[in-house]
């Protein structure tokens, strides 16, 4: 088992080490998230009732945009310097290496967002219970964003205007995660309980974790040709 997973672990380790040498990138994405969330009340007005109502959607959409920011750089640097070719020619499973990169991306871009979200939720006057549900929904949902995003990043690798194109391809596919994620808190406030939404979100996570690395690998092989 550990032999089978070793390329996966090596790939995660490598990308985390690289991220540690580029700390500014992590901080930038996080700061982007914080600033977008804080802009919303400024555009909408400080009415606490209204803010409480839009909080889940606002935090979710901001999280979605923040992960999008780092996705363009998920494969591009490795493609530019030839590392991706070496990975494609590795005797180990290319899919596992790609899965490792996706996990590393989530740890760097998704996890900090999840951790800071409750603090920002306080600014929107959310109750303790809502904050907890929001955090759980983000914890289940942000990996989905990284996984589906990886497919888009692989498809647009090395393509003209890849940044804007990536958003065009990926954002419609993010809709189910957004609906179930933000909906969990709203359903709870409406008295329906968050379980249904969270289970669907978890199911989506399992399905995308199973298929997305594989599809991304196929797309990367096409991009390398």
């Amino acid at each position: 088992m550990s032999r089978f997973l070793s390329p996966f672990i090596q790939s995660v380790r490598r990308d985390l080490l690289l991220a540690a040498r580029h700390k500014t990138e992590i901080v930038t994405a996080l700061f982007f998230f914080v600033i977008v969330v804080n802009l919303l009340p400024l555009g909408i007005g400080p009415d606490p009732d209204l803010l409480r109502k839009i909080a889940p959607g606002a935090l979710w959409i901001s999280a979605l945009l923040a992960t999008l920011l780092g996705l363009q750089r998920l494969f591009a640097p490795d493609h530019a310097d030839g590392t991706l070719e070496q990975m494609a020619l590795s005797p180990q499973s290319f899919t596992l290496l790609v899965a490792g990169k996706i996990l590393a991306h989530w740890l760097v871009a998704g996890l900090p967002v999840v951790l800071i979200a409750p603090v920002l939720g306080l600014q929107f006057d959310l109750s303790g219970r809502s904050l907890l549900i929001l955090t759980v929904s983000l914890l289940l949902g942000t990996p989905i964003l990284s996984l589906i995003g990886a497919v888009g990043a692989a498809l647009t690798l090395g393509v003209r205007g890849s940044g804007a194109l990536l958003s065009l391809l990926i954002l419609p596919l993010y809709i189910p995660a957004l609906i179930f994620g933000a909906g969990a808190v709203e359903a709870d406030l409406a008295g329906l309980g968050p379980d249904g939404h969270l289970s669907l979100l978890a199911a989506l996570l399992v399905v995308s974790a199973f298929f997305a690395p594989w599809v991304a690998t196929v797309a990367l092989r096409v991009a390398l040709e």
Binding site: H22, D81, S90, P91, Q92
Partner: protein, 201 residues
């Protein structure tokens, strides 16, 4: 044995080469010659299984290279003209991490030793962005010492190397051939290798 039959390569609307066939037996090396833009790198990428030819068939010990990828890649060491080095990592980290991803857990001592053999004393812990082009090339070539493979596909391996390093690399290739390995190279430099096969594009 690497065998290639009726290979055709097309870039955009231009046909680079067509109906190319050859065989590369063990202990032999093959030079791919041709002018700039003749398709040397394209051919190497096709041989390694990265790109798909428009037409033709490439087999390694009888099985097509794009089918049983993992078995072929276990025997293959491909060095492209891109560095595949991370600027922000040290030579030591670059080697151990990239080989680790290929399933070869190289100890730090072994990697250190390889770097010394290629004359990189004192550069082991310097981020690669501080190294010169020739030194980067040497870091890359250390893979030849650390990762066992029966088929070497090397794109312009002698570029940017000084006389000393060229000699060392030539001896390395000779040893590889003597031990039953085979190699495919493109190069503009005249080489001091035993006579090999040659394909001109």
């Amino acid at each position: 044995m690497l065998s290639v039959s009726h290979l055709t390569c097309q870039r955009g609307e231009r046909v680079l080469f067509q109906d190319l066939s050859f065989e590369l037996p063990e202990s032999q090396w093959l030079q791919i010659a041709g002018a700039n833009g003749a398709g040397k790198t394209s051919l190497l990428r096709i041989l390694s299984g990265l790109s798909e030819p428009v037409d033709g068939r490439i087999t390694w010990n009888g099985s097509p290279v794009r089918e049983d990828r993992e078995a072929f890649h276990a025997d293959l060491l491909y060095l492209g003209h891109q560095g595949a080095l991370k600027e922000e990592l040290t030579p030591l980290e670059n080697l151990t991490l990239s080989l680790g991803m290929e399933g070869f857990n190289v100890s730090e001592d072994a990697a250190m030793q390889a770097l010394h053999q290629f004359g990189l004393h004192g550069r082991e812990h310097l981020p690669v962005r501080f190294l010169s082009a020739g030194q980067r090339r040497r870091v890359l070539l250390c893979r030849l010492l650390l990762r066992p493979a029966r088929l070497w596909i090397l794109d312009e391996p002698f570029t940017a190397l000084d006389v000393h390093a060229i000699g060392f690399l030539s001896r390395l290739i000779e040893t590889h051939l003597r031990e039953g390995g085979s190699a495919v190279l493109t190069s503009h430099q005249s080489m001091t290798l035993p006579p090999g096969l040659c394909v001109t594009l």
